[in-house]
């Protein structure tokens, strides 16, 4: 059986390697990805449409806003599914496999505690910068949200899961996660109410006096990135807290 697997892997690998030859060269201006009218439009018109220098964020949050909205929903659903599966497995007798409890170190190590106390505020500040500056430099809601969630996970690792859950209890992180999706879709619904298409932010300039449609797009991108960051950070912490404690939310690593 191993031989069959090896032959299949070698055959597929050889096929993929030979197909590599047909790929366009890296950075080729005539490759389909670069030469299609759609990418041409993004590259030439992003500054004109929204004044956002980072066109990756412009594509993610504006031109393809639907994609990002439902990606956020996918993250939310994944987190809820992990919570639900762990809880259900705990309730079925014999469902969760009994595992040897590993020796958990005490969480009062002064070096780790002090380092984390110094590190976590910097980490959270950097996360907010990444979220807020996502449409001007690399970054955005997903990355910033993950860093923000990682700062809470660092709290949980350094001080134990219980102090971390005191700061961000389950009720709060579930609410935060849903609030993110509500913020994102709220921007879409506002556009609908003002008589435009869903997530067509240009029309929102009537709500903020003194700015034009391009600026309204730029500010709305920031708004939806904040929504993405809410959901992602809350769900990242939720996944860690539930996995580390087998869904019981106490003890943990």
């Amino acid at each position: 059986m191993k031989w069959v697997g090896l032959i299949a892997v070698l055959f597929t690998g050889g096929l993929l390697l030979s197909a590599m030859d047909d790929f366009p060269k890296w950075g080729d201006a005539h490759s389909p990805a670069n030469a299609s009218p759609v990418s041409q439009y993004y590259i030439e018109k992003t500054i004109e449409d929204s004044g956002v220098p980072n066109m990756v964020t412009a594509v993610l949050a504006d031109y393809r806003g639907y994609d990002t909205m439902f990606e956020t929903v996918v993250v939310l659903i994944a987190g809820i599914a992990i919570m639900a599966i762990l809880r259900v497995m705990n309730q079925i007798p014999g469902g969760a496999r009994p595992s040897p409890r590993h020796e958990i170190g005490d969480h009062h190590d002064i070096i780790i505690g002090t380092t984390c106390r110094l590190l976590i505020p910097v980490l959270q500040l950097f996360a907010l910068y990444v979220i807020a500056h996502g449409h001007h430099s690399p970054g955005g809601g997903f990355q910033g949200g993950v860093i923000l969630g990682a700062s809470f996970i660092l709290t949980a690792i350094a001080q134990g899961l219980d102090p971390a859950l005191e700061r961000l209890p389950e009720k709060s992180y579930v609410k935060l996660a849903f609030a993110g999706v509500v913020i994102y879709s709220g921007f879409g619904v506002m556009c609908l109410l003002l008589g435009e298409n869903f997530l067509d932010y240009g029309v929102l300039h009537v709500l903020l006096p003194g700015i034009d449609a391009a600026e309204a797009r730029s500010h709305s991108m920031l708004g939806v990135e904040v929504g993405v960051a809410f959901t992602v950070s809350a769900i990242m912490f939720a996944i860690y807290a539930n996995l580390a404690s087998k869904g019981e939310l106490e003890g943990g690593l």
Partner: protein
């Protein structure tokens, strides 16, 4: 992109991929997997895809390694295959 640098990164990439598949200790495998993600992140950054590199660094090298380690601690540490 400097091709010598690329070659070194790609060699390390294959080495870490093989190690994380072959090693019996799942905790070690998760950590090597984090290294693999970080090497991919460097490759993305070298190709100028900075946003993708940033996501790979935070999600791949950061969170997913932590989540894998949290899972390993609550299951078994040694792999059966």
């Amino acid at each position: 992109m400097i091709w010598q640098f690329d070659i070194i990164l790609l060699i390390f990439l294959v080495v870490t991929a093989v190690i994380s598949l072959r090693v019996k200790d799942l905790l070690a495998a998760s950590m090597v997997f984090g290294t693999y993600s970080f090497l991919i992140c460097l490759l993305w950054a070298g190709m100028g895809a900075v946003d993708v590199a940033f996501t790979e660094a935070t999600v791949g090298a950061g969170i997913s390694a932590v989540i894998l380690i949290a899972t390993v601690y609550n299951t078994r540490r040694d792999s059966s295959d």
